[in-house]
């Protein structure tokens, strides 16, 4: 029997999208002095709202507010009390979770199923986890009373707007810092709802400041003299530039950049689950994930049969309206990103790889792309080396475990890798041999605030989550110096 699922749209009413959103500085929402920017709903390509942005003077104000709050309020406060504020914020996120999920889906384009079941709960958990560290810093192995760094300047990307805000704000505050944070220009809304939650939690003004705007605002922020610590998540290109700009300033940096994760399937893998892992690895969040499993390395002995299975499974993916609860793959975040992806796909075809795309129908309006696979790719092709950041998988084969390691490591990136084998010693051995910050054995895209996340090589340095993530926000320079 043919069975069409009826549309199951989540109502957008709960989001109560305002006509205009304002930056959050020193505890209040106030007009910025920069140019207004429109934010678009990628699922429909229609305007969603308008955001007032900041200029340099506003950034000065924000950094100053953060400094004042740090000197006069936050650094004097006991860890236990800081923790209680963070617990409040965690609970606030959980209470307004449905609203946040809808706002995030409307602004980013990712499916409501994902914001509801992953992004928002993970953000709440991130605050909850870090809240508990605030009065336990002496147990990190960094000395009896680790000190915070001061004011952190943070810039986050558009792929997980709320979650990235949580990943930045929670550890910084738990460690005793105050923050000035800039969301991506295409996804400014969910963090501004978070700002309401933060204000409702009575967080002292100036502890968290949110400055809105585009790349220039981010650049001014990270270069600002009043910032003690910079945390950036975004493209490797911009990360390199930030590192260059901050050279010689002594300012602490952590960078979480791009990736070209290898998902490695051995001939003894639990095949059906490996298929799911690949699907998850490259189509979760429309492939717009730094740690996406964007290179499939499948053992040659099973490659043909396995690729067939994979294609059949991809055909069952539901691509469409992100607000429909049954949508598996939503919209690409912006027209610009869609163009970047299709340009690389053209390069792949030109270089001789074979393109296969799902036959799923796509909505007429909005920025959509069919889940796609390139087969017959070779390591030298651009689609095998460059980060596509879209729902496009590049497939290659390998013969032996050593060859898989060699191919997987053969990249300037080193953020993530997946290994699929039923053989425990091989799973452990591959984990030891792969040069990547996150190794997923028989799974993919698992995140937890207790488990550190971050890259090797040009995927960045520094970790988020776990004790090592907190260490990034503490003064750990314990070497004795003469002057």
């Amino acid at each position: 029997m043919e069975w069409e699922y009826s549309p199951a749209p989540e109502s957008s009413a709960i989001a109560d999208i305002k006509d205009r959103y304002l930056p959050f500085i020193d505890g209040t929402f106030k007009e910025g002095n920069g140019e207004d920017r429109e934010t678009i709903n990628p699922g429909t390509a229609k305007r969603l709202s308008t955001v007032s942005t900041v200029n340099d003077a506003d950034i000065d104000r924000a950094v100053n507010a953060a400094r004042q709050a740090y000197e006069n309020v936050w650094s004097d406060m006991s860890g236990a009390e800081r923790g209680k504020f963070l617990f409040r914020i965690a609970r606030g996120i959980a209470e307004r979770s449905r609203e946040l999920a809808v706002v995030e889906t409307l602004d980013n384009g990712k499916p409501i199923k994902e914001t509801r079941d992953f992004d928002v709960p993970a953000a709440a958990q991130h605050f909850f986890y870090h809240a508990g560290w605030a009065d336990k810093l002496q147990h990190l192995g960094l000395g009896p009373a680790p000190r915070p760094l001061g004011v952190a300047g943070q810039v986050i990307p558009w792929n997980f707007p709320l979650l990235m805000a949580a990943w930045k704000i929670a550890p910084a505050l738990a460690a005793g810092n105050t923050v000035v944070i800039k969301p991506a220009e295409t996804t400014p809304l969910s963090i501004l709802v978070l700002a309401e939650i933060i204000a409702d939690a009575d967080l002292p003004p100036g502890v968290v400041n949110i400055v809105t705007g585009a790349g220039d605002v981010g650049s001014t922020l990270v270069n600002h003299r009043g910032i003690d610590k910079v945390a950036f998540t975004g493209s490797t290109a911009v990360g390199r530039r930030i590192q260059r700009e901050l050279a010689g300033t002594g300012r602490k940096i952590t960078l979480e950049l791009g990736g070209k994760g290898a998902n490695i399937i051995f001939d003894d893998a639990a095949q059906d689950q490996a298929v799911e892992g690949i699907i998850n690895g490259i189509f979760f969040n429309q492939g717009q994930v730094c740690c996406a499993g964007s290179r499939l390395l499948v053992q040659e002995s099973i490659a043909e049969e396995f690729t067939e299975r994979l294609k059949q499974r991809i055909e069952t993916l539901r691509v469409g309206d992100p607000m429909d609860k049954n949508t598996d793959v939503g919209a690409i975040n912006s027209e610009a990103q869609l163009d970047r992806i299709t340009a690389l796909m053209k390069a792949g075809i030109a270089e001789g790889a074979e393109l296969w795309s799902s036959s799923c129908p796509l909505p007429k309006n909005g920025f959509y792309l069919s889940p796609s696979i390139f087969t017959n790719a070779t390591p030298s092709m651009r689609i095998a080396r460059e980060e596509i950041f879209g729902p496009v998988l590049t497939t290659m084969t390998f013969r032996t475990p050593d060859e898989a390691v060699s191919k997987a490591n053969n990249s300037p990136y080193g953020l993530s890798a997946g290994v699929w084998t039923e053989k425990g010693s091989r799973a452990m051995g591959m984990a030891a041999a792969l040069r990547a910050g996150v190794i997923w054995d028989n799974t993919f895209n698992r995140f937890d605030p207790a488990a550190s996340f971050g890259g090797y090589k040009e995927s960045g340095f520094g970790r988020e989550g776990g004790p090592s993530g907190l260490a990034a926000y503490l003064d750990t320079d314990d070497e004795v110096v003469t002057q």
Partner: protein, 295 residues
């Protein structure tokens, strides 16, 4: 017309419910001036037996919960206690004769104590566990796991803060417990049991008995299905005999160094006392033919 109060019957807290003692006995709880407060249940060894059964069941559910979930439940205890702050301040004042200021400080500290432990559940493995750099081709890790069912003798003194300070570290690690409340403050203990009952704590994870420590403690110490003991509430002489009894089943026994000051920040000794460290080895490396000389 003034309102005639409906007096509360204070029962035991076992398996998430409030049963009377199977012995039918009670004893008189008196306030600081010696006035009658309530007839509290006088727990028997059979109540204790039932509580241990409930705790074992509760442990099964609690140890399966994620650390995050346990943290959320303990945080909920703090929320519920906070919302009943005024009631507890008054109860402590009546029960112990404390001033408003002192009683308020005790309740605030109790709430904050719960918040503190709520934040420990998902950090124990990072702080107390390790990845072990063994000198052979194995991936080895050590991780803390809950001991199981812990018998607790609650301290005298601060009836709420003391009770919470001995129970919270035990359940934080995933254990279940049977706590014998301070004999002279059963009302505070059982009112706290009401907070437990409304906080999504799985049935049996915390059980509270009111009665005579001297009568109940030996049965707790000798019970073969109790894995560990916290003897804080026992005096020196009783402690010795309990420790002897505990040796029959090689229980883990925690005895504080002196008289604990529960107003101070807790360390981690009480957390560590009720955790087992499990070490796991798994072969790693040697992806292909290697010659096998690294063993």
């Amino acid at each position: 017309m003034s309102h005639l109060a409906v007096t509360k019957t204070y029962k035991l807290f076992i398996g998430g419910a409030f049963p009377r003692s199977e012995s039918g006995r009670t004893y008189q709880a008196r306030d600081d001036d010696g006035n009658f407060m309530a007839n509290a249940a006088l727990a028997s060894r059979k109540d204790l037996r039932d509580a241990v059964v409930a705790a074992r069941k509760g442990y099964a559910a609690w140890s399966k919960a994620t650390a995050y979930n346990r943290g959320q439940v303990i945080y909920r205890l703090a929320e519920m206690l906070e919302s009943r702050k005024a009631e507890f301040v008054e109860l402590i004042m009546i029960s112990t004769g404390a001033s408003t200021k002192t009683a308020t400080a005790e309740v605030n500290a109790s709430i904050d104590r719960l918040v503190h432990y709520a934040g420990w559940t998902d950090k124990l493995a990072a702080v107390l566990g390790s990845s072990n750099p063994v000198s052979s081709p194995y991936f080895s890790y050590s991780t803390p796991e809950a001991t199981g069912v812990v018998g607790i003798l609650a301290p005298t003194g601060t009836p709420l803060l003391g009770l919470i300070s001995v129970i919270a570290p035990v359940i934080t690690g995933g254990n279940a417990c049977v706590a014998v409340a301070a004999e002279h403050d059963p009302c505070v203990a059982i009112t706290f049991a009401e907070v437990i009952a409304t906080s999504d704590v799985p049935a049996g994870v915390i059980n509270i008995l009111t009665g005579k420590i001297t009568e109940l403690a030996p049965h707790l110490a000798g019970h073969a299905d109790v894995n560990a003991l916290d003897l804080t509430g026992a005096d020196a002489e009783l402690r010795t005999s309990l420790e002897q009894s505990a040796s029959e089943t090689v229980k883990r026994v925690y005895v504080p160094k002196g008289v604990p000051d529960f107003t101070a920040a807790p360390g981690i000794a009480r957390l560590r006392a009720f955790l087992e460290i499990k070490t796991v080895w798994h072969p790693t490396g040697a992806l292909s033919l290697s010659g096998g000389t690294a063993y």
